[in-house]
Amino acid sequence: MKKHANGSGRLPDRQLKSVSYAKWGYFFIIPFFVVYICFTLVPQFLTIYNSFFENYRDGLNEIGPNYVGLDNYETLFTADSSGTIRILKYTSNTMVMWFIGALPQFVIAMLLAIFFTSARLNIKGQGFFKTVIYMPNLIMAAAFSMLFFTLFSRVGPIQALLVEKGWIDASFDFFSHRITVRGMIAMMNFLMWFGNTTIVLMAGIMGIDQSLFESATLDGANAWQVFFRVTLPLLMPIFVYCLITAMIGGIQMFDVPQVLTKGNGAPNETTRTLVMYLNGYLANKNYGMAGAISVIIFIVTGALGGVVYRMLSAQYKDSSRQRRQRKGDVI
């Protein structure tokens, strides 16, 4: 029998459906596809199409569109006078800032997930902790960033506090050092995402069959061994899933650095991200260059998305199979 994603395997249903109701399936998915094609797929093709044209504004006049083949891509990957290939610089900015936020995000989320699920530790007030650590995830990134800007500005309260304590010099400027600006951006990303990761990882740990832990303990494994030999390997798929979706999110980094640095990516463009670069050209209506950058981002996220897709569909098949086994079970 052909495998189906749906739950029931009973013959009469199938006959009933396939005989007279199959067309309804099309009706039900039509809105999705019409909208997807109009608002995503066509724009996607248009974007790619634009990347092969020279098309920008000189004042109020539009230059082009003139077909230029791969010239825009060539421009994109040509080094400037000092030998910097800017798109690579912005890509590495993006990844570095993502990484300094993601490293603590995953380490702490993993720790918290273990703390919260440990029967031995029996942490009280979990509801409260989870509520608090997840909260920043829902905050408007633009507003959060604006808040950091005002708090850390030369005339902001944090500067005032640190100067008062004598920890920094009055002339210190959080916004003129690469490390502090990147640090603030990473910090915001960390705060916004570690709660989310914690909760997902927790669910992963709780999904592991308890008897595995019990038998490992009975076999004399200590806590570390249980973690490294049982928990971690079983958690790996979820962990990798989180990591890759976080990475895809990281590539899209925009609101926070854009608002924080007013679109400048200061200092020395070290906090300018790929999407900020794209946004600059989009705003200037330089459609050729914007198209080429979009295609690059598309390829990178597409590749990462492919990995997620493979993991999801593998896991999806598993869970459907499990569900077929546990018939009639309702969560």
Partner: protein, 286 residues
């Protein structure tokens, strides 16, 4: 034995103290900046220029009044606009995602696997990579300064679709649909009146998530909206960074930020339990 046990207990206590300390620190980090925001939104411009304090001052309502009535950043209007867009998006996204998921879940039709694979494959592609074509198209169709391009695309939300599909597999036996048919219920009727009520928890969770992401969305609206009366909250917040608004008093600026995140914050405080549940249910199941 006894001493071992005590040692174990001491170890556990020490461990607990460390864990609670870490948790306390993280809670502090999560709340500190927002606490400062609230404190600062209660201080006058002159008070703000005078440095750091942890104690609220008396100007909260003055700042609220000034921010609320400001002529250039019409925050009540922005909040109303954001509310309209976010609500409409939330309703459309959840309804049509459920509809699509149901179409694939309940019916066997040719190309079903292909359709499903397609949606899964495009799930991770961000909106930014088609933004150029999107904006260009909206310009051509004269849909800039219009909420249609901000609301309608919500109908095709692969992530919400995937969530709904998974949820249906756990709660929606196909026998139920067959039974409805025998009772003479039409297909859309079955979906709207029998299936949808069963999906209530999933719909509630996804409505909250899509509401929040729409409320917070900055990139696309900023490219499409420029009329003052149509602007959404994130655009207004980003404008606070520009020169022409630098003459603002800072108390007002903090108040704007507070107002921008307040609706989501309140929703969260009221519904945090189900929201947190939704986070896990939505992504990967163990």
């Amino acid at each position: 034995m006894i001493s071992d046990n005590t040692k174990g207990k001491v170890k556990l206590t020490v461990l607990r103290i460390i864990v609670y300390a870490i948790l306390a620190f993280l809670v502090f980090l999560c709340l500190f900046f927002f606490y400062l925001m609230i404190v600062n939104s209660s201080r006058s411009n002159a008070q703000l220029a005078s440095g750091f304090t942890l104690l609220p001052k008396e100007n909260f309502f003055t700042n609220l009044k000034n921010a609320w009535n400001d002529a250039s950043i019409n925050i009540p209007r922005g909040m109303l606009n954001s509310l309209i867009i976010a609500l409409a998006t939330a309703v459309l996204t959840t309804y049509f995602s459920a509809l699509t998921a149901y179409g694939i879940h309940a019916y066997d039709f040719k190309g079903k696997r292909l359709v499903f694979t397609f949606i899964m494959a495009v799930m991770m592609i961000p909106a930014q990579v088609s933004a150029l074509g999107f904006v260009q198209m909206m310009n051509e169709l004269d849909l800039t300064n219009n909420y249609i391009p901000l609301i309608i695309p919500g109908i095709a939300a692969p992530v919400v679709f995937f969530y709904m599909k998974q949820y249906m597999e756990s709660v929606l036996p196909l026998d139920l649909i067959a039974a409805a048919r025998i009772d003479g219920s039409g297909e859309f009727h079955t979906f709207n009146f029998i299936v949808l009520p069963l999906l209530k928890p999933a719909i509630a969770v996804q409505m909250i998530f899509s509401f929040v992401s729409s409320w917070n969305n900055y990139f696309i609206p900023a490219l499409l909206l420029d009329k003052a009366e149509l602007k959404t909250v994130p655009i207004m917040i980003a404008q606070l960074r520009s020169a022409d608004y630098s003459k603002f008093d800072m108390g007002k600026v903090y108040m704007f930020i507070l107002l921008a995140i307040l609706p989501v914050l309140i929703t969260y405080i009221l519904l945090s339990k189900s929201i947190i549940k939704g986070v896990t249910a939505g992504s990967v199941k163990g």
